[in-house]
Symmetry: D3
Subunit: 155 residues, 6 copies
């Protein structure tokens, strides 16, 4: 049967002991999207053309949230992040966020990448909710990972 590393035999939550693990370069990329109506898409598109801060605010929110991942997710190890990029792209039915997070640390950075994507999409939701009350955020997943003992992979 599968064992959850974040709980002990009695089911009690813990932050797993990684003291003995080496600091190695690690990268994770996560992605997700927000579906919105035409009015919301137009509002971003026009804003971008006009130097609007919509994507910039979402990008900054995602980058800042990645740095606070271990404050938001109870059992995440604090990690000294060494690089974060967050790309946003508008398409026919909404927008996609893709975050790549790097560290030289003892654990992977999937949670940081997922947190960055979530915060960026929530920020888009916040800025656009006046023009679309029924947006949906979804398809948030890890798309690639490198470094660490589980090896490199791409979803």
């Amino acid at each position: 049967m599968s064992k959850l590393s974040h709980t002990d035999e009695a089911g009690a939550a813990r932050m797993v002991d990684v003291t003995a693990k080496a600091d190695t370069a690690r990268t994770a990329t996560a992605t997700g999207r927000i579906a919105m109506n035409d009015a919301a898409r137009t509002a971003i598109a026009e804003g971008s053309a006009a130097k609007g801060d919509v994507f910039a605010a979402a990008r900054i929110a995602g980058i800042m949230a990645a740095k606070r991942t271990s404050e938001i997710i109870p059992l995440c190890h604090p990690l000294p992040l060494t690089g974060i990029t967050l790309d946003l792209a508008l398409d026919a039915t909404g927008a996609t966020a893709t975050a790549t997070v790097r560290t030289s640390g003892k654990t992977g950075v999937e949670m940081e990448a997922l947190t960055a994507v979530s915060a960026a999409l929530l920020t888009l939701y916040d800025m656009l909710k006046a023009v679309d009350k029924h947006m949906t955020i979804g398809d948030i997943h890890v798309s690639a990972k490198a470094g660490g003992k589980s090896g490199d992979w791409t979803a």
Copy 2:
């Protein structure tokens, strides 16, 4: 054309002025889910039976994140939240999170409910990623809202 209240005419981000609005009772409910494989579902199910902290950790994470929404989402107003519940339910293909947030304040609490759901689902992802590396978080949306000038509605 639609106007975004979070940016001014030049496209610059701002936190909208709501000083003159009255404090009224407001509620918002948001939901979302995480799809996972059988090993992950079994790990939760067994853990729950055995007093495991998996759902408890996710619930606490969601409640705590809701209270910090205005720190995570750049243009959100800080609000004195007056109630938060976060329900988690395991089903055939994963788990669903539903958060209801209340305030007596000048703006709605959709973002707080969405943030609670996001943090709870990210916490589940974190605790289960050792048994399923390919989970997806999705279908995050507001399902009901009450109070404020836009009136009550259910999605």
Copy 3:
């Protein structure tokens, strides 16, 4: 049997709904102490005479922690604190911290006063641990409370 307001019938944690409660003036006083050896007591006493920052640092730490109580304690309601004092007194076997916290809000401020006292005592511990490795923090309790439906009382 006693009912815990912070958990529902199924035992799930929640932040209790206080939306309908009125904002009223509330005060709580908490106290606690740290027992230390003579070397530590002398270090404070001499420092105070010489403008040392030991008590000042502990006082500031307690005041700042009180303001962040709802971030530290999962089910605490965020409250707009309207006044905080934190007194520290050196005596024959250690030091006593007493915090009084005020708000005009929907719930009491015991937790804020207890958190202020705890943070102040932990700060003293931190600053003195080089001269006493075996200090003990204790006797932390609420000593007085005013406002709210449970009425005024002094321990």
Copy 4:
């Protein structure tokens, strides 16, 4: 002789008791500037033209810092901010930041406006330090204030 409200008769720091004060609409505007060389000014100017995030990042940083003022400044009261704007303007010798903060609360919002300006200017410094190692931030002051018992004024 002048009395400092933030310290008691013995000189101990405290957060002043404002419980009995009424919640009233309050506004404060603060300004400040950063002096930089031509290379830095050109970098911003070109970036702006090309949709660069320099000013956007500084604006978001200022807005977010304003909301956290009471965490940064020890004796500041937490206030439910109801509006924040942050304007940035490039000129012949650098850039000027101007923040206007609003609340409906018991104390003024000068510190929030000053904190917003400081964080925005520090963010500009951070983003431009690769092209100018010798920038100076200065002339940070409150330029206007409205509401509260001390009345309206403009510097």
Copy 5:
């Protein structure tokens, strides 16, 4: 006479310079307890049996607070914690919390362990205060320490 490392010769607070120290594996264990009446003990005991979140919430609160120790205690160094466990045990007169914190860093983790214990006990207080208004938190101390130049010891 003993010297406090956290203040300079003039008594001014500082964060001690540990730049030149090596990163080594360090562990600290702290403990503390909360005394409560029978009604409160019964509420926990029943809740546990029924999957209640009382201990889970306290455990999560302690783990999360440990990670934020350097934000709460002014002169604490930020450390990349590599492991945290927090045990809670109910007994005849209350409950005991024991936290073990690990890092690979330049300073010890006593303060992190003490902070975890304090936050866990405060969370129990918060969740139980409706059934016992007169609980006391005490006997908070470091019980064991390993690594670093002062060597291993157990209280």
Copy 6:
């Protein structure tokens, strides 16, 4: 033309990738000052003599803010700070703050030193604003830097 490392070719903000850089000892010193009237200067001077917490509060605020620099400034890398001192000096027209910050990390600590100085001066402003409504904070700059690839220098 100069390139800004914090934005990519399209102008999008990012946290620069420093994964491959070595951890080296780094120090930065920043300074700044606040100009105030005689009443404010006297209030500090008398307070200091009388064990007042004015400078102590500002010092603690600066030290604590330095540790949170990467939360306040969007694109700053989180760094494990290994030492912080913050000196405050009263003179004929106001007070000067000087912060020295150390780390063993992959990037410099100018922003941490500048943030410490800014928070300390804002705290002085807050504590003195009751006696001088027209203070100005200025001349904030980096005065010395050591370590890292750009070499040592003093302004």
